[in-house]
């Protein structure tokens, strides 16, 4: 079946450290990928995206890396802050479709 990501793991990091959240996607035909952040009681919030013709994209404090060979996506957060605590989802859009396939997400806990 379709799947992105694994069962919900938790990543705990010290405030100020860098965080790396990983995601394995299943559809090699996907052409667009997004990382979302979801805080408790809220809907997912767009963080950064990347197209399949790229392998790296940087934003403010965040970097997304795409490895199509092994169907792997990662989100790097620099100088992690308490406000970064949330569940992070990667999502893929298969070519020719309008839907996004989300994984189960990773919970990021920032320790003071």
């Amino acid at each position: 079946g379709e799947s992105v990501g694994l069962h919900l793991p938790t990543l705990s990091v010290q405030e100020g450290d860098n965080s790396i959240i990983n995601c394995a996607y299943s559809n090699s035909a996907s052409d667009y990928f997004i990382w979302y952040k979801q805080e408790s009681g809220k809907g997912p919030q767009f963080i950064i995206d990347i197209r399949s013709n790229m392998d790296k994209r940087q934003g403010q404090r965040v970097t997304v890396l795409l490895n199509k060979t092994v169907k792997h996506l990662s989100l790097q957060i620099a100088a992690t802050q308490p406000g970064d605590s949330a569940v992070y989802f990667c999502a893929e859009k298969p070519t020719g479709t309008y839907k996004y396939i989300f994984g189960t997400g990773t919970r990021l806990k920032v320790l003071a």
């Binding site: 919900l8 809907g43 309008y98 996004y100």
Partner: protein
């Protein structure tokens, strides 16, 4: 500028009943997608509406139906509710003119008892 607004925020229904959830997209957006998010899971695509028609559908039974109005707002209807329909229902809007991700609402928490 209002983002995506959903109503109601919480709802409790009995098995077998029917429910209607509502969504107003972000200003400037013309496309609405609905997702179901079970506790501890990622959102699952239900369907997408564009130009008042269902453009794509996920793996959900016909009990799930929707509508989009001329002002781009949308409704999600679920008939013959099952306990397993209990979830957070998310509405996401986007623009057909701008390539990119969605803007999500905060969702409607549906509990079926």
């Amino acid at each position: 500028d209002a983002g995506v607004t959903q109503s109601p925020t919480h709802l409790i229904k009995t098995r077998g009943q029917q429910v209607t959830l509502r969504c107003s997209p972000k200003s400037g957006h013309d496309t609405v997608s609905w997702y179901q998010q079970a506790l501890g899971q990622g959102p699952q695509f239900i369907f997408q509406y564009y130009e008042e028609e269902e453009r794509q559908r996920g793996n959900f039974p016909d009990r799930f139906s929707g509508h989009q109005f001329p002002n781009y707002s949308s409704e999600l209807n679920v008939n013959a509710l099952l306990l397993g329909d209990s979830a957070l229902y998310l509405c996401a809007s986007s623009s057909s003119q701008i390539r990119g991700g969605y803007t999500f609402g905060s969702g409607t928490r549906l509990t079926v008892v």
